[in-house]
């Protein structure tokens, strides 16, 4: 499916840069994305990863063409590895299943609570947590859950923790957002969630919400609460990776503005896994 947004941009592009695409190269930038997972992506093209894909396509002189697939276990196998696309817009920078670009943002797990509660939480071992109803996302198997789920269990904080399946009910819009909405509706006191989702929902919430990065000490290793996010291409596609790296390096401020637009909390003190490539 051709995105109407990309077509419009490309028409504008064509006037400025008619020979942007190389001769003989396909005009499509084939992106695999979740059709139902804002703030990242949706079928209507409203996510920041949709917008980023348009920016990349503009840079490369291509149209964005989507293959939609829920971003769950098997996502990479059924999309990038099946040859259905060239690119997924967001994966962890150390993601072994794909060839990753340099990271284009670094975010953090956060606490989200109603501002009116004045909870002032910032650490995963804050003693207040023992007395609050805490929501976390669950991934599935033993050992495969979100860092807050692990860290709370490790401290014996159990009976006041509520689990929300990251998969949710896929008939509803953006299923992972139920966790943050539970804070908005007062069903739980605090959510411990990945920053981009929390920041976005907080931004559009009718009730003022406070989003605070979660600090965690070494005692919770190997769990980490900050992750760098990169784009992913098929293993071995160094040509596309390198072009994307150029795009990321040249589009620093535009990407930052885009992320700010969606309320993505950015983590300070980035520690790049790629040494000198940090921006």
């Amino acid at each position: 499916m051709r995105s109407p947004v990309s077509a419009a941009i490309l028409v504008a592009m064509a006037a400025l840069q008619p020979y942007a695409s190389m001769a003989g190269e396909p005009d499509d930038l084939r992106v695999c994305a979740d059709p139902n997972n804002l703030p990242f992506s949706n079928r209507a093209g409203e996510g920041f990863e949709n917008r980023l894909a348009e920016m990349v396509a503009q840079k490369l002189g291509k149209f964005v063409v989507y293959t939609w697939w829920a971003q769950r276990r098997g996502f990479i196998r059924h999309t990038l590895k099946a040859g259905d696309c060239d690119l997924v817009m967001g994966v962890p920078a150390q993601y072994d299943l794909v060839e990753t670009t340099r990271p284009y943002y670094r975010s953090t797990y956060v606490f989200v609570s109603q501002t009116a509660r004045h909870l002032r939480l910032n650490a995963i071992d804050d003693p207040q947590l023992r007395g609050l109803a805490i929501g976390v996302h669950l991934i599935g198997d033993d050992g495969n859950n979100t860092p807050p789920a692990h860290a709370l269990g490790q401290q014996g904080i159990i009976d006041n923790v509520r689990g929300f399946m990251i998969y949710g009910d896929y008939r509803e819009p953006d299923p992972p957002a139920r966790l943050i909405e539970a804070v908005e509706h007062g069903e739980i006191d605090v959510a411990a969630a990945w920053g981009p989702l929390a920041g976005y929902v907080a931004k559009t919430s009718t009730v003022p919400l406070t989003v605070t990065p979660i600090a965690a000490g070494e005692r919770f290793a190997p769990q980490q609460f900050q992750f760098e996010i990169a784009m992913g291409v098929p293993k071995g596609d160094h040509a596309l990776r390198d072009r994307l790296n150029d795009f990321i390096a040249q589009s620093d401020s535009e990407i930052a503005a885009l992320l700010a637009d969606y309320g993505v909390p950015l983590a300070e003190n980035p520690r790049s896994a790629r040494g000198g490539e940090r921006r």
């Binding site: 971003q71 059924h78 590895k81 962890p92 509520r162 399946m165």
Partner: protein
């Protein structure tokens, strides 16, 4: 959801004509719903349910194929199922017609075919029109383990949670009932079982936050008669005053709630995706439940009842009569959905009505099926994650040294997550009094290091690396004496043995390997008598029956897949050793032996050769 019947009506007339010549059980039986299926089980010409009989013996009285002539087996006919994913289904054979179902893939997911069991002629096919979300959310692979039959109807479970009744003669859909929600991660992969006019169906998907259940549907209407959950209050688990577990630790009110912290039971797992057996005299059905999930072990302190347990229930009401938890507070993903084979054994001079449960945890349980008492539980594979089963308390003894702890690397945990044996069902011969068990032989290292990413959310997950157990082989086919409590013979295979098996009055037992060999073995001594190299590896269930020509046939689907085979047919990157939930590491050489496939293979004896020197296996 709309179901479409494909070319059914056009073929109906010819089917009726053919069926008339092979009708082995008179139509009078059809008026007694409880006995119709049971009567077919007594006819060795048929294979009327995946496990062949209610006792789940997979034993056939046919002896035309025997140890002396099995080397003459040759292809009778083949048929393509048309979707190259894991083929785990057992064909069923009723009145000369074979019914077989494909996996949830291709243009017609979970398509059902009716074939003349003797000639292979296609009579009709039926294709459900599935919900498109289903493929994206199913764990592991999109397998289907088979169909069921009773009173002229074929029963199908679709991956997207529909049970469908199809008219056996025409392929026409009679009813369908939606039992779960694919969009919440719920799926169905098990073969339904019909008991006393009820179609029994359980769910899959515990890792995705599904709460397990077994549901009984009226075979005529599809109406839900009862549903028994595996977790939660007694009223949901269908536990009442008549519930009499053997062990004290399992007595007490609402243990499906109290053995969990807070509300954990609400998404506690304990799904029901394996086998159901039935004892008509005791009027009890038996089945096992899956592991607890999706919470981390440290977030679900307690025994987590009734996960990883065996239930005995009244099929009329669903009420539990007894239960036994095999793995309290499971740490290893040790589902206990494996089959329960019902046999009567002479133990210490008395005849005991027992069930034999080859545990995923590596112990062979022999239990009194009237009371739920564990008579014996002995390791049949290399086990170091437990230290045995205490027969006084009935509880397994954990080995603390092998407890997976986040942040620590624990090496050499045996058996690995798939257990010493997974779903692949065993067979029992009343002649040899041995249980024939296909299983795997894998250990694993556990560490927390892998970066995962689901729905835009990154996390550090456990990385499970599986490899061959002691001796360097990954699979085994063996014969077990449940009275002497020992292995009688064993055949090692380089890859996990993921097929079911059967055994016959000809003292021949069959199984398949992932490296494409279908083997016939002397049930008495384990000698391989014949083997056939097929197009793809085997993870299916062999069956045997008599054709309308009086010949004995043996059938199995070829097509590797399932959990361990995902690497071969779905192009998981085999360089990533823990790709398919850790299994890729254990089977990463699989693509050197096989690709995916979808072929139904049917064998019969060829003509006797004067010079029988070919009789020896290669």
């Amino acid at each position: 959801m709309i179901f479409t019947n494909m070319r059914g009506a056009a073929l109906a007339a010819s089917f009726i004509a053919l069926a008339g010549t092979t009708w082995l059980v008179g139509p009078a039986c059809a008026q007694e719903p409880p006995s119709e299926l049971a009567a077919r089980m007594k006819d060795p010409g048929q294979w009327p349910m995946a496990a062949r009989d209610y006792a789940n013996t997979r034993y056939s009285e046919l002896d035309q194929i025997n140890t002396l002539n099995v080397s003459r087996l040759q292809i009778a006919w083949t048929f393509s199922i048309g979707a190259d994913r894991g083929q785990e289904a057992a064909p069923i054979i009723v009145d000369g017609t074979m019914f077989v179902v494909g996996p949830y893939d291709g243009p017609y997911p979970n398509r059902v075919f009716a074939l003349d069991a003797t000639t292979g002629e296609l009579k009709w096919s039926y294709a459900p029109r599935p919900e498109p979300a289903a493929k994206g959310v199913a764990c592991c692979d999109v397998v289907n383990r088979g169909l069921a039959f009773n009173n002229g109807k074929v029963f199908l479970n679709t991956l997207d949670n529909h049970t469908v009744a199809i008219e056996a003669k025409t392929g026409k859909e009679l009813w369908h009932t939606k039992l779960g929600e694919i969009n919440r991660g719920e799926t169905i992969t098990m073969a339904p079982v019909v008991v006393k006019g009820k179609v029994l169906v359980g769910n899959s998907g515990g890792e995705l936050g599904v709460r397990g259940w077994l549901t009984a549907l009226d075979e005529d209407t599809g109406a839900i008669k009862w549903r028994a959950y595996s977790t939660g209050p007694d009223s949901d688990v269908l536990i009442g005053d008549d519930f009499k577990p053997f062990y004290d630790s399992l007595k007490g009110k609402d243990q499906g709630v109290t053995s969990w912290p807070a509300d954990r039971w609400q998404v506690g797992g304990g799904t029901v995706w394996g086998w159901i057996s039935y004892d008509s005299e005791l009027n009890l059905i038996y089945y096992g439940t899956a592991n607890p999930s999706p919470w981390n072990a440290n977030q679900r302190s307690g025994d987590n009842l009734w996960t990883a347990a065996i239930f005995a229930r009244d099929p009329d009401t669903g009420r539990a009569k007894w239960a036994y938890q095999i793995n309290p507070h499971d740490l290893f993903d040790h589902d206990e959905i494996n089959e329960n084979v019902l046999v009567d054994l002479e133990i210490s001079g008395t005849t005991r009505k027992v069930l034999i449960h080859p545990g995923r945890n590596g112990y062979m349980y022999v239990m009194d099926r009237a009371t739920g008492e564990v008579i014996s539980a002995d390791a049949y594979d290399h086990v170091n994650s437990y230290k045995g089963v205490d027969l006084k308390t009935g509880r397994i003894i954990p080995n603390g040294d092998k407890t997976p702890i986040l942040g620590r690397t624990i090496n050499d945990i045996c058996p690995a997550s798939p257990g010493a044996k997974d779903w692949q069902p065993s067979a029992w011969s009343p002649r040899t009094k041995l249980l024939y068990v296909p299983h795997q032989h894998l250990c694993m290292d556990f560490k927390s290091s892998e970066v995962g990413y689901i729905a835009g959310t990154p996390f550090i997950g456990a990385s499970v690396d599986m490899y061959a157990g002691p001796g360097g082989y990954r699979g085994e086919f063996m014969a077990w004496d449940p009275v002497a409590k020992k292995k009688v013979w064993e055949i090692h295979e380089k890859l996990p043995v993921w097929t079911g098996t059967l055994v016959t009055a000809g003292d021949v037992t069959f199984y398949g390997t992932m490296d494409r060999l279908f083997k016939a073995v002397d049930a008495r001594n384990g000698n391989v008598l014949w083997q056939f190299r097929a197009g793809s590896g085997f993870i299916g269930q062999p069956v045997t029956y008599r054709g309308s020509d009086g010949q004995q046939y043996v059938a199995i689907l070829s097509g590797v897949g399932g959990w361990p085979g995902v690497v071969a047919n779905a192009e998981v990157d085999q360089r990533v050793r823990n790709g398919a939930l850790g299994f890729t590491g254990a089977t990463q050489d699989l693509p050197f032996y096989t690709a995916g496939g979808s072929e139904l293979l049917v064998f019969k004896l060829g003509p006797a050769a004067k010079d029988d020197s070919n009789a020896q296996p290669r």
